[in-house]
Subunit: 238 residues, 2 copies
């Protein structure tokens, strides 16, 4: 099998920094974790918050702390520093090779989508951002790593897209239309969702938008880990 | 323009952990840094060392510390802990959007290659690994970000490949043959170098091998940052 992770990320129009921070860290007991945070508001202040949250979580995960405990620690640190005045969402998607599961940790009111074949499930249980109070608990979902599994995670920029024009996005419908294609790559899924949101915002995103897709494939090939990063460096958004 | 980064990474045959650690971090003033360390020996001990070095460097870069100072700090920390008994190589490739340069920091006896069109330069100045003494200085190379620039960085597994059979790898020749193709992607470059090394080792890599390629293209497209990670999760190497 191969686990493939794809990210597509864009800044709010005319801002030079995204309030969303996404990083990947290797887990000390095998596998890796993708950590995504969206700091309240946008621009430099939001960036500082989401970076602080991601740094905290990644540092703990690298030490072997479990995902849920890392999320609670980041929430406590943020609440202690900001006294509930600044909050941040958090999503952690971990490939845990020891338990052979994907562990999804969520402190984000935005739901996640879990797709298997043509079945699309929306996980929209109540989930509270970090830093809101002393006792923030993450939602934890654990799924066996099996071919065909697709997980879609995003920040609220995706659902806000088009709203100011009264044309909100139907994420499930977009997912369904892409999944009807022949076995889309996770990058195709992420790119399509992001492109539709940007288009609904008339190419001027009203908020930072990040889309993260994890896909398990049955691919049997070499044993090479691969990573590609693409960073546009001109234009208004950096 | 777009900066594209590609990584291909494989473990030493029949070991479950790579002594090489590679991570990517966003720079607080814009851009990002790729940090690659190769801890002495292989397996679990080497992993702990290279992870410690990468964690240290990434933590400092995230705080805005300059690359050379971060490398020195990691060296001092390693020397203090291990008294020169354990060393680690380090390479940092940073896209600094403020200075509009690529900053290459090197504490690795393995050279780097800088390619522009058909010109291939090997940067093989003397460079000392971290943790060897109290006064380790990194080699710093700063290059303007311009289309066509390609930087190739690797750990010593690549040059060790084939040596036990008396068939060492000619990295410059392999690079030249790939660059003669129509504008190869950085992933093609990294994959080809790694595949040749693995083949020279008869599909049983004698050491952990990591190849990192940075390419600047003139691509003008959307303003989306993208990342893809592919992680095989079966077989002997994890």
């Amino acid at each position: 099998m191969e686990v493939q992770i794809a990210v597509a990320k864009v800044n709010k129009y005319a801002t030079s920094e995204s309030g969303d921070t996404l990083e990947v860290v290797e887990r000390p007991n095998g596998g890796l974790s993708v950590v995504l945070a969206d700091g309240q508001t946008s621009g430099r202040g939001a960036k500082a918050i989401s970076q602080m949250v991601v740094r905290k979580v990644i540092g703990l995960l690298a030490e072997g702390v479990r995902d849920g405990a890392a999320a609670r620690a980041a929430s406590d640190a943020l609440f202690t520093e900001k006294q509930g005045k600044v909050i941040s969402t958090l999503n952690i998607a971990s490939l845990d090779l020891r338990s052979e599961t994907i562990v999804l940790t969520q402190n984000n009111p935005e739901p996640m989508f879990i797709c298997r074949g043509e079945q699309i499930d929306c996980l929209d249980e109540e989930s509270i951002p970090l830093g809101t109070s002393r006792n923030v608990r993450p939602l934890i979902t654990e799924l066996p790593i099996e071919p065909g599994l697709i997980v879609v995670i995003y920040t609220d920029g995706l659902t806000h897209a088009g709203k100011r024009r009264g044309l909100p996005m139907d994420i499930a419908a977009t997912l369904r239309s892409v999944l009807e294609d022949q076995d889309p790559s996770p990058q195709t899924l992420a790119d399509t969702l992001l492109a539709q949101a940007v288009s609904l915002d008339e190419n001027r995103p009203a908020d930072d938008i990040s889309v993260l897709v994890v896909k398990v494939t049955s691919r049997v090939g070499d044993h090479v880990r691969r990573m590609t990063v693409r960073l546009p460096i001109e234009g208004v958004w950096r």
